[in-house]
């Protein structure tokens, strides 16, 4: 300790900055806690900040003058008064804040928003998603941020066309807007948006009750690249025909769950846009026909296709994969006709495949998984939920070849056992692992995971009744970066195991539902260790008494939601 300051004092500031950039996040924190030099470097270089406690907001804003991105989405006590007081402080106005995340901050209303919008002159990105109370007046307040380029307003339930019109007129330079779940928006609003914000590149109108008229207006957007319209029940093939001749820059279309859209609508999109890169049409096409495949062949740049829920025969999968060789992501969940023949062809042709969703494809066996693992070395995400024929053989080849795999979903795969987990644990980059309903795994398998998958962020062990306290202890020791852990209905677990969870300091989401054996002692231990805990589910844990909740109340300052 005595020597380190001297070393740091030798280094010039720009070198310190470089050193600091090389450190990873936990290291940075450690360093800035022990060294004033690094603390200074941090305060000078930090551009993004996420505030958890509103009390410290003014001081923090003062300390970090170069902030450009402010995240207030986990700051529950933020409201108009705080914002107005900030305005008096004047620190915010001197900052060049470009990005503001106000997601879920429902206590900020029109007044506060307007003050914020006025204070942050350089504001370009605002996220007010899930502020369910937001309506037209909030929109009007936001419209005073004239430089706004990206706006996310998902689930602002009261937002109507009038509010949208305010934003559109006020911020006509918008590039990207998301209006998902803004149920009051109608064709008129969308029409005006498309008429005024000509530079729009990304538009999300998912779940809106808009009709084909909106699509006609949208088709006039020359620069539009991304169009999401998930579950728009009133849009049909006639609407998609407008897109055939419109929106020349269109690259990504999502028509998932649009009930009235059929294959002919998709064909008209594909016909008009041979350069399209992403096509998501899950649960709206019933069958991939020959005519569709004919047009798909022309798509040389197609990277992502989701056709979940469609009848995809092996022959169509063969011709699809042979024509779209640059495919990186394919969604085939619930495509029950898919078998090994199709999958082998897919694996041989699409070597760049990164994401593969085969959930509920019951006929897929180890052969297909081995072929994919051997050919597609870049595979990052593999979803095999309810593929009951998968056994440890398939997982063996996964462990051998797919070193880059980050996400693996094996929910409800009976075939997965301890041996299988041992193979999986060789995928050292694994970040998300779902093993829900895999009843054949025991402490032994969990031990492998805990010892080798140190990068794991998310682990789902829902109803894995086969493992107990020792397994959990191994997990808690090995997977230090876990922030989401689901242990519901793992009946074997007792206080001894659960107490080990306290080692997981980064844990923010914990589900312990139905663990009858744990008591207040276990909960208290968790509360004392997991300071970042934000979500806790202790429903049906009948033996937890008040002492556990007292501890929770005392330690867990970041807790937002408790299910009990």
């Amino acid at each position: 300790m005595s020597t380190s300051p001297s070393i740091l004092s030798v280094l010039s500031e720009d070198l310190l900055v470089r050193v600091y950039e090389c450190l990873d996040q936990p290291c940075r924190k450690t360093w800035r806690l022990i060294s004033k030099d690094f603390l200074r470097v941090d305060s000078l270089t930090r551009t993004t900040i996420r505030i958890l406690r509103v009390e410290f907001l003014p001081t923090l804003l003062f300390k970090y003058p170069n902030l450009s991105s402010l995240d207030l989405s986990v700051c529950p006590k933020l409201d108009d008064d705080v914002v107005l007081r900030l305005a008096l402080d004047g620190t915010v106005s001197t900052l060049g804040i470009k990005s503001l995340n106000l997601s879920r901050s429902t206590a900020v209303r029109a007044r506060g928003l307007e003050t914020l919008a006025r204070m942050c002159h350089a504001l370009e990105r605002v996220d007010v998603s899930h502020c369910w109370g937001f309506g037209d007046r909030e929109a009007a307040a936001l419209s005073s941020a004239t430089g706004l380029r990206e706006l996310k307003m998902d689930k602002c339930l009261s937002l109507s066309d009038v509010g949208l019109a305010r934003i559109v007129v006020g911020c006509s330079n918008l590039n990207k807007i998301s209006l998902k779940w803004c149920m009051e928006i109608s064709d008129l609003g969308i029409d005006l948006l498309c008429k005024i914000c000509k530079g729009l590149k990304s538009l999300d109108v998912s779940y809106l009750k808009i009709t084909n008229d909106s699509i006609r207006s949208i088709a006039l957007l020359v620069k539009l690249e991304v169009l999401d319209m998930v579950s728009c029940p009133l849009i049909d093939d006639g609407g998609l025909q407008f897109l055939e001749n419109g929106s020349p820059s269109l690259q990504e279309v999502d028509v998932t769950r649009c009930d009235r859209v059929s294959l002919s609508g998709l064909i008209s999109i594909v016909r008009g846009h041979p350069d399209i890169q992403l096509l998501k049409a899950s649960h709206c096409v019933s069958e991939v026909s020959g005519s569709f495949l004919k047009y798909i062949k022309g798509l040389k740049h197609l990277k992502t296709i989701w056709i979940d829920g469609a009848h995809v025969s092996d022959s169509s999968l063969v011709s699809l994969s042979s024509s779209c060789r640059s495919l990186m992501e394919i969604g085939l969940s619930r495509c029950v006709d898919v078998t090994d023949i199709g999958m082998i062809s897919l694996a041989r042709n699409c070597l760049n495949l990164k994401t593969l969703n085969l959930a509920c494809c019951g006929f897929v066996t180890d052969v297909a998984i081995s072929a994919v693992a051997q050919s597609c070395r870049n595979l990052g995400t593999l979803k095999l939920e309810s593929c009951h024929l998968i056994t440890e053989k398939g997982l063996q080849s996964l462990g051998c070849y797919s070193k880059l795999v980050q996400e693996l979903d094996l929910t409800d795969c009976y075939g997965v056992n301890d041996r299988g987990l041992e193979y999986i644990s060789k995928c050292s980059n694994l970040q998300r692992l779902k093993l829900g309903l895999c009843t054949n795994i025991s402490d032994k398998g969990i031990f492998h995971i805990g010892s080798k998958c140190s990068k794991l962020l998310e682990l789902d062990l829902y109803r894995c009744a086969g493992f107990g306290d020792d397994g959990l202890a191994a997990l808690s020791r090995g997977c230090k970066s876990l922030n989401r852990l689901i242990l519901s209905y793992c009946c074997e677990l007792t206080d001894t195991g659960v107490e080990q969870i306290r080692q997981l300091e980064l844990l923010s989401h914990l589900e312990l539902r139905g663990l009858k054996n744990i008591t207040g002692v276990g909960l208290a231990a968790i509360a004392s260790g997991c300071k970042k805990l934000g979500y806790l589910d202790v429903k049906l844990c009948e033996n937890i008494d008040d002492s556990g909740f007292w501890a929770l109340a005392y330690f867990s300052k970041n807790l937002r939601q408790v299910q009990k």
Partner: protein, 505 residues
């Protein structure tokens, strides 16, 4: 088509038959009958407007057939003439003209069949030629007829008696007939693509003014294109400002009481003695608006306001058709708008009928633009916004926005103490509410629909307005409620735990 023609025919018959019994003793009824037929004529001519060339020709056939009756009727009039010689010469002139007209129409009928089959250009040319002839004849006819009329009226005024009302009323249908012929020819003209509007001799009849009122109010602006009289073909009258604005135009010579309508005055006069109860006294005097013996020209009116387009000195003078037009025009254009809508407190009118029309629809226009324009339909508002740059839909309850700054200063000037801050906010909103009552409806140029919502002036709150925006009002109260909770919770500083977390995790 058949029924329309029938109607025309009947009218011809009725008007001429009425005029053929001048010896009837029931003067008042006669006048009324004349009027009803006249009304029918108007209807018929309106119907004619909607007919094409063919029906017009048919009507002309009808006219030809009744031409004889027409002449008979003219002779009936002659018997009552004051100066028989001039009258006779006038009438023979008219007879001649009517014959000419008949010939022309014959020509027209003869060609009618060919016109259909012929080349369009040729047909149009010929038709144009015929119609120009026709119009010139009709104009002559009318002016002669007009010169006939005052002489008869003169007769009436100089020799008042129980029967004198009749000639006027008998003649009246004739004037209308001529007018109708004219309107038909006009119709013809329109088919030929030529722009020609025939003057209609409009006699202001106070009794039917309630009907006229509605028509004229709408027609006033349209008249600009419709009226295309050659200068000098009409007489210009100009009323003085006081005359226009006078509440009453008819005064009782005995007690001095004023009336808006002469019919009302006549009803009133009955109370002053039996001599006012005679049929003649109660009959509608046609004379009143037509002065003296000079040849009857069409009357048009000029606005007394210098520089107005409706003033005769103006370069592009557009005359006003009736006295009622003058009144409405003068009030609308050159008077204060003293009638304010009791609902929106914004729209002002100088003509009370306009206010009533507005009040029928006020409140229905709930779609409001930042420029102050209101729309009854949302799509119209959005079309407007798309058209005009910078216009935005206004969100009612604007005053909360403006009060935000004041309450912010107040609230935050109190410093850290949250309770005081809350009180400050209340003060802010209350003072703002007071401002609102001081100048209702207007906030920095934008119109606010809302009555201010504050306990202080709750009594004055308009519940009509309240119901129209229930959601917004509730919204407001909700937000202030939330504010209250937030304040109540306060910010007790807690130093335990992390205040910053790294985003990249």
């Amino acid at each position: 088509m058949e029924t329309e023609d029938d109607l025309c025919h009947n009218n011809w018959g009725s008007s001429s038959s009425k005029s053929r019994e001048p010896g009837s003793s029931d003067g008042g009824n006669q006048t009324f009958a004349g009027f009803t037929s006249q009304q029918k004529w108007e209807d018929a001519s309106i119907l004619d407007y909607e007919m094409g060339v063919e029906p017009t020709l048919q009507v002309f056939d009808e006219m030809k057939a009744s031409g004889q009756a027409n002449v008979d009727f003219l002779q009936g009039v002659r018997a009552q003439a004051w100066d028989p010689r001039t009258m006779l010469s006038n009438l023979s002139f008219m007879e001649q003209k009517i014959h000419q007209l008949q010939d022309l129409v014959h020509l027209l009928v003869g060609r009618g069949g060919q016109v259909q089959g012929r080349q369009d250009e040729l047909a149009a040319q010929q038709q144009q030629l015929i119609t120009t002839d026709l119009t010139s004849i009709i104009i002559q006819l009318i002016s002669t007829a007009g010169s006939l009329l005052p002489s008869v009226k003169h007769n009436m005024s100089t020799a008042p008696g129980p029967y004198t009302g009749q000639p006027g009323s008998a003649l009246f249908p004739y004037a209308r007939e001529a007018n109708n012929v004219a309107s038909q020819s006009q119709n013809n003209n329109n088919c030929g693509g030529q722009e020609f509007d025939l003057p209609k001799p409009v006699v202001v009849d106070e009794r039917e003014s309630h009907v006229v009122e509605e028509h004229e109010m709408k027609d006033e602006d349209d008249a600009e294109e419709g009226e295309n009289l050659p200068p000098g073909s009409y007489e210009i009258l100009q009323l003085e400002k006081e005359e226009i604005l006078a509440p009453h135009t008819h005064f009782c010579t005995i007690c001095g009481k004023g009336f808006k309508r002469d019919a009302n005055l006549r009803m009133h006069m009955r109370g002053h003695g039996d001599e006012y109860k005679t049929a003649a006294a109660l009959a509608k005097p046609n004379k009143e608006s037509v002065p003296g013996s000079e040849p009857m020209l069409i009357k048009r009116y000029s606005c007394p306001f210098l520089g107005c387009k409706r003033n005769k000195e103006h370069k592009k003078f557009q005359p006003l058709k009736t006295i009622l037009c003058v009144k409405n025009h003068y009030k609308r254009t050159h008077c204060d708008k003293s009638f304010t809508c009791s609902r929106c407190h914004t729209k002002k009118f100088s003509v009370i009928a306009d206010l009533k029309t507005h009040e029928k629809h006020c409140g229905k226009n709930k779609w409001l633009c930042s420029c102050g324009t209101t729309f009854s339909r949302k799509d119209k508002l959005f079309g407007h916004i798309a058209l005009f740059q910078g216009h935005t839909p206004a969100i009612p309850l604007e005053e909360t926005k403006t009060s935000a700054s004041t309450s912010a200063q107040r609230g935050s000037s109190e410093g850290g103490n949250n309770n005081q801050g809350m009180v400050g906010f209340n003060l802010g909103s209350a003072s703002n509410a007071n401002q609102e009552t001081a100048q209702p409806g207007m906030t920095d140029g934008k119109i606010s629909f809302e009555e201010p919502f504050s306990p202080m002036n709750f009594d004055t709150c308009n519940f009509g307005g309240f119901h129209e925006f229930p959601r917004l009002m509730f919204d407001d109260s909700e937000s202030s409620f939330q504010m209250l909770i937030a304040n109540a919770c306060g910010f007790s500083p807690r130093n335990v735990g992390e205040s910053v977390s790294d985003t990249s995790l």
